[in-house]
Amino acid sequence: MIEKFEEWYRNRHEYQTDWKQRNPDKKMVGFFCTYTPEEIFYAFDILPVRVLGSHEIQDVTEPHIFAMFCPYCRDVLAQGLKGKYEYLDGITIGASCIHLRQAYFSWDIHRNPGWSHYLPMPGHVQSPRAIPFLKGEYELLIKKLEEWTGKTITDADLKRGISIMNDARRAMKKIYELRKQDAPPITGVESMYMTCAQFFTDAREFTPVAERVYDELQTRKLDRPVGKRLMLVGSENDDLEFIHMVETLAEREPVGATIVMEEHCTTTRYFWDEVDTSIEDPLEAIAERYVLRTPCPSKDWPRRSRLDRILQFGKDWNVDGAIVVQQKFCDPHEADIPFVRKHLESNGIPTYFLEFDVTTAVGPFAIRVEAFLETLEAEEDLF
């Protein structure tokens, strides 16, 4: 069953076109950042799908985004310009870093599918003023969606949207719990396939699969050395090639590793926090969720609240070290990384820093990761 995730991931466009055929009367909206309130779209029975890059070198974004913006936003825009997402009915972004916004803007200008919405998302999430503001923005969004779909929604619809998302989140968290085991029954790559698949599959189809997988994993044994337990921290990163390289090092080299946890917007930062269903007003509850979730660094001020969560993850998943990942030019994370590293190091978790581009130069990265793993070696065989 677990292969399902990879299958979905590899055939995401097929899945999405197929979904459209199965749901001829339903709309599909592409979103660019994890700050998009998917609950609201589900309430309208619209399928929110996150637009991801393809990790292929491309030459179509040059006229639209100049050199110093992150490769991820470039890669994302390339998908649109190359017409890979023509089946979308609309696009939206919950304001995140300004890099990703550019992908959205250019897409909106050159490939507008007929509906688009820019959702301001408060940056001052530590302020009590953030939730009321965001609620106001949600009301505008809902109005716009009502005009578009000709539907009006009720609190019941919103609550349905909330439970759809919460279920998916809970299912993934349960699987993440299993990665705490000394010999995790699921590799980092597999887990990344899962989280990435969730971005674009219909949560109502995803969650049952995730639950089945959870049951299977109870008894699953992987015949591969665990090696060092690593955590990934930092920028958006769905670079499976890299994770695969790390987790297969042991096949070629005397050292090996398994990614057991991540803190980035492709995984935990995106799904970890649930909507508090005890809050009466569902819209308020959703707003609260997005304001209080682990923030993107560009919203994490005046207090740098991410640090404790990262460290806690590191401890709970008992990691030997952390690879701090930064997408080239990713300003939000660049402003945090020195402090993230300090915090982890001073708490006994060694870190190594890597700068990512659209494609990973696997060779040069392998040597770095290996050398990092060698520094983690406890056994002094070599000395």
Binding site: R252, E253, P254, E355, D357, A361, P364, I367, R368, E370, A371, E374, T375, D381, L382, F383
Partner: protein, 297 residues
């Protein structure tokens, strides 16, 4: 009008050596370290942790052959044969393609260990400037890596660049260092150490009537700057040693040392051997732990 240069000035001397006052037959453990780098390949043979012989050659276009060549070059003047080796470790850029290796270790670990052997346990910071990598390594008293940085994406400031450059100016690479000081008044460093642009920049300077040595000086200085900025990021702790081929280029090294402002340690060994030596030493440790091969005799 300059014709394309026929002679290959970048060619640095390939060397091998056998320790005359050592008999491998007395050794308990014979270990080999083979460092297949992007530019050069070395094989170092050790008897119980002392260098018995070595070979240092240019890397060919495939690692297994380069590794073999280096080893046979090392054994050329000795009756020691591969069969007698108890442990062999491959390192360097082609480390996974060393046929006779029992295991591999990264060149980062090996250079740190090798530096510890070449320069003594006081070494804390190792700079390895090779064919296309610049590695700044921090290590402890045992030669164990504690932290390191490498250049990425851009090869500016590496040995290969210096080769291209020496070739362009028609100066044998071994002379680059000394000649870069046969000038009056240190020139401004070239603005780019990009291997490719450095070429046109140098051409430009020659066109402006600069003397060859001045151009060399300007380029060496730029390389030193570039290397320094990487070193600066790991931080230089005294006990500073340089390994790799660039260590032999005093045009870059001496200029670098001025910037760092501390003494660099010295060794009688060929700095290009550090990686292979480190590898061989790891082999010794493994043998002592009974992990070595049993060999006839």
């Amino acid at each position: 009008m300059a014709e394309e240069t026929k002679q290959e000035f970048w060619r640095w001397a390939e060397t091998n050596w056998v320790n005359p006052d050592m008999n491998w037959k007395d050794a308990e453990f014979i270990t080999v370290g083979i460092d297949v780098g992007s530019v050069s390949s070395q094989a170092v043979v050790m008897c119980d942790g002392e260098i018995y012989c070595y070979g240092n050659r240019r890397t060919g276009s495939d690692s297994p052959t380069s590794a073999l060549n280096a080893l046979s070059f090392a054994l050329e003047n000795s009756d020691l044969t591969q069969e007698m080796v108890n442990y062999c470790i491959g390192t360097g850029y082609g480390r996974v393609n060393v046929p006779m290796a029992d295991r591999s270790v990264t060149e980062i670990a090996c250079h740190a260990r090798g530096a510890n052997f070449f320069y003594g346990p006081e070494v804390r910071t190792v700079l390895d400037v090779g064919g296309q990598d610049i590695k700044a390594i921090r290590c402890d008293g045992k030669g164990k890596v504690t932290n390191f940085l490498m250049n990425d994406k851009c090869a500016a400031g590496t040995g290969r660049g210096m080769e291209v450059f020496a070739d362009l100016l028609g100066v044998p690479i071994g002379e680059v260092g000394d000649r870069s000081f046969e000038i009056d008044g240190e020139p401004r460093p070239v603005s780019s150490t990009c291997v490719v642009y450095a070429k046109s920049e140098a051409t430009g300077m020659l066109r402006k009537g600069w003397k060859t040595n001045e151009v060399l000086a300007a380029y060496c200085a730029a390389m030193a700057d570039r290397i320094y900025s990487l070193l600066d990021r790991v931080g230089v702790e005294p006990g500073f040693a340089i390994t790799g081929g660039m260590a032999k280029n005093r045009g870059v090294v001496d200029r670098l040392m001025i910037k760092i402002g501390i003494e660099k340690m010295t060794t009688k060994w060929d700095t290009q051997l550090a990686g292979a030596a480190g590898a061989a030493l790891f082999g010794v440790a493994l043998c002592k732990k009974g992990k070595g091969r049993k060999v006839a005799g």
